[in-house]
């Protein structure tokens, strides 16, 4: 069956129609895309020299609260009674990803029901070291976000982050890659 002139013109018009439809639909769909303003929230830069030792700076990343912590070098996770079986999506404890970093960022959303934990730098009766305490149902986390006690099923989420001089850049993979 040989292609006729009529076939050619049908294909040509059909092709033009497809080009036109794409040209119309592209801007229409694009208006629904995330705005340029919101894409700036995908990255947060924090100057860590402005955070005192054992201090916490709360900022936001992708619309969620972001805890930026600066810990003394001698603070180790063996001070805490960590639930070793509660791991992040990389199959590790947060401490393994974050140890040795003087400053790092966590997403400050409790993994139990989404409340925002409180920073207790001076510790308490039960936990004799700095820790995070979720006021809703008493979830306890180490400063690296690993579970000590209470209902939370997983460690706090660690966003991808890297160091550039005095700046901690959250949202770009570095010493922490993208977790789920």
């Amino acid at each position: 069956m040989e292609a006729s002139r009529r076939d050619f013109i049908n294909v040509a018009i059909g092709g033009l129609g497809v080009v036109g439809a794409v040209g119309v639909l592209y801007p229409i769909v694009k208006t629904l895309a995330p705005s340029a303003a919101s894409t700036t929230e995908a990255k947060a830069e924090i100057d860590i020299t402005k955070i005192p030792e054992l201090g916490m700076r709360v900022t936001s990343w992708k619309g969620k609260p972001l805890f930026v912590l600066r810990l003394p070098k001698d603070l180790q996770e063996d001070k805490y009674n960590v639930k070793k079986d509660s791991v992040n999506s990389a199959g590790k404890l947060n401490y393994e990803l974050l140890k040795g970093q003087e400053a790092f960022a966590l997403v400050g959303v409790c993994t139990h029901l989404g409340c925002i934990p409180l920073w207790k730098p001076e510790g308490s009766e039960d936990v004799k070291a700095p820790y995070l305490h979720c006021p809703c149902h008493g979830g306890l986390y180490t400063p690296w976000g690993d579970n000590i006690g209470g209902p939370p099923p997983r460690p706090l989420f660690v966003p991808p982050q890297k160091r550039e001089g005095d700046k901690l850049i959250v949202g770009e993979p570095g010493f922490v890659e993208q977790l789920v």
Partner: protein, 407 residues
Amino acid sequence: MIRRIVDWIDERAHVRDLYREQMVEYKVPKNLTFPYVFGVLALTTFAIQIISGIILIMYYKPIIAHAFDSANYTIMKEVSFGWLFRHIHAAGANFFLAIVYLHMFTGIYYNAYKKPRELVWIIGWVIYFVLLITALTGYLLPWGQLSYWGTVVTTEIPASLADAPFLKGIFSAIGETISLWMKGGYKLEDLALGRFFGLHVLLLPLILLALVGIHLFLVRAAGISNPEGYEIDKKAEPEKVVPFHPYMTLKEGAYTMWYLALFFFFVFFYMHHFLPADNFEPADPLKTPPHIAPEWYLLGFYEVFRSIPSKFWGFIAFNLILLLLLLLPFLDFSPIKSARRRPLFFIMFLVFLFSSMVLTVLGTMAPTPTNAQLGMLFTALVFLFFLSLPVISFLEWGWYKARGGRS
């Protein structure tokens, strides 16, 4: 696979019958001229306005504190391609009115308002009227200087009834009441913006959609008119008609493509006329912009209104022109159709066309006494056109009878 889906639907909805009856077996005259395309172009523009309007409504905020910024910042800068859809909507409004005017002049020229098409004309007139109100309400929404002051002036127009030479008390009360009810108060504020918004984005488009549907139904029911002015008997004269599809659809589709090319040329390269710089200044109720004139599609009525010395009679005059347009099928009762076969009508049609254009041009000029006199002259010529129609019809009836009832 597609065939099976269509078969399944066809068994239940008889779409193939519908297609055959309405697209192929529906016949149109062979000799339709270029101006018959304006109906389809108006429909295309309406579709463009609805799509672009739906996109704009997602980001526009009908509150004075936010209206200007939502139009000029959120839509123009934040939303991807928001600027494009605002440009399309603003240009589309102007093109819509332009096409509708051409469509109306076409209808008048070919006498497409005569029996059996009076209802087509009347519904068409209502569409035009609703379209003007839609344009007027949409114009306020960006809340720029021109939006605000244009609307202030428009809502003051009914107050010109107070200038009546008789029954002054009654007329001024009526005028003031209309003006107040348009604004929802003495000033243009959130109430007015809210109601204009509601009308512009929901009620009026719905009414327009319904009216356009009825208009198209009536065109099909009465049959499309003919440039020659003879009614075609589609059964007895098959050589004079062609199937609607593919003949009409392809030809009008091609013209639509040319039209869209022209339209988007304006959208991309010539927006400064449709979005004037003055309107990029937020509305200030304490400062009137120096150059304030209505949009071009209202300039004819505006000139009629302002050239007549008495505000009251000016108001009556431009409303009377609108009314006479509506009554056209009854003013022109001659049995002969189409300006091609009516030399007297053709001359008066040219007078009408020319006068409308001159009035529009005069509307852009400064209101000098000379211009006011010219305005009154051409207003008189417009009325002469309407008044000449019964006379011409009377004469043509005589000739028609003398020829033994052959048109």
